[in-house]
Symmetry: C2
Subunit: 294 residues, 2 copies
Amino acid sequence: MDPDVAFAVWSGERARRVESVLERLLPPSAGSADMLCDAMRYAVLGGGKRVRALLAYAGGELASADPVVVDCAAAAVELIHGYSLVHDDLPCMDDDVLRRGNPTCHVAFGEAIALLAGDALQSLAFETLATGIPNPGAHVALLARASGASGMAGGQAIDLESLGKKLALPELERMHGLKTGALIRAAVRLGAACGRPLNADENDALDRYASAIGLGFQVVDDVLDVEGTAQSLGKTAGKDAVQRKPTYVSLTGLAAARERIDALRREARVALSAFGPAARRLLEISDWIAQRKH
Amino acid sequence: MDPDVAFAVWSGERARRVESVLERLLPPSAGSADMLCDAMRYAVLGGGKRVRALLAYAGGELASADPVVVDCAAAAVELIHGYSLVHDDLPCMDDDVLRRGNPTCHVAFGEAIALLAGDALQSLAFETLATGIPNPGAHVALLARASGASGMAGGQAIDLESLGKKLALPELERMHGLKTGALIRAAVRLGAACGRPLNADENDALDRYASAIGLGFQVVDDVLDVEGTAQSLGKTAGKDAVQRKPTYVSLTGLAAARERIDALRREARVALSAFGPAARRLLEISDWIAQRKH
């Protein structure tokens, strides 16, 4: 099979798999607190690229993990990602009305329910790790650090404080390393942590890979925000410029941003070289991230 | 020593103890994402009755737990409680400007930072359990369930949906059982789960105790909202009536609400009778809750 086709088949299968795991984990909408459960399902089910889940599965394959255990890691990172999107879209944050081509959660359910749905999705992520993974202490600590003040939430706070300011490139990379990168690194590591123990060198290599693709993912986002249309992105295009957010493109120009994407893709490839064929899916994901169009 | 004085000494010591644990756990405000760390510290440190922490310590004493391990359980429930207050006070929820006699977190730091601070406090709660308690899986699952859609967040959603509606008493009790009761039950159980294993009868008895004081705490709150002043409460008094929230007092009248408080206090006492002197602090807390004036 053509490698691109083989990867498309693998990633499609895994995306459907995590969808059905999430479908089972999310509370049914029957009963009281209906709106909350509906909002949680609305925010998480039926869409998204599932990049973080794919990374967890690929990390799991690297470490020969039981896929049923990795299901929980994959679902947990998607739940954290889903909660962060709901809170990000709120009027007091990015005030966005369109997400994956649909009204954002607070447009559909009201701000208060959207706030609570995000909160409850975060709780569900940790419940999922705690109930589905044997000896989950390290997994919970890892995901909690990646989500909190020293990870995603910290990056969002730096992003808020930088609105309208001129960030230098290292500051921008640090912000993205927390805001988007921390959860992407956690996804790879959580998946791998479901399998055989990795040695220190292997963990370092995996972290270099995950940092490179985390940053690469964000640079691609910045490029697509300039080049894309709302239709292809499923969200409002050109928002960064309107909000005067510093981006790779605004700091370095489009050509340099594209070069950075290629360099990060090479970094990811080099980091994986020690693992051999077990890293196949991780490698394919980094190529896919570099080439994605939406 | 007079028993009331002895309890005051014990609870004062434990409140100071969890304060210093929280002080150590919360991120220092030096460095980037300053505002976020400041907001997290502002929301959690320097105040509150620490009822949930005291319950965790008392639960720990019941099961002869190592107090250093219980510190983490006590801090984790206070972090969840702190996050819920920050999000509850936001304009899209209760829109409150005064908490513990001070401006609420979003008044002091802005809505976006307050939202993120709440999010990061939730992450920190789970990180605290995962890193401070041996084999923390059951603890994480317990706290996550108590916080999420089937616990606190679920209760808040029912509360939102009931604004301006006439709830019957059983519905009101169900709402409070989730909104306030779930975390109070979790505090007792988390503390006890740090010690010797309890048998099924003991766990049942502990749950009956925790349910009774959880509900009792809320009925007292409703009575104080009618009787109290902003000065004694440290928050806006009489808000329930203004917002037309159903309360015990509005449904049953003040006299019946006071009787319910006494009945719940007796229920708590009966539930603890099998434990003997090991339940001393839990018993004192239920008496204190029934008699509190703010």
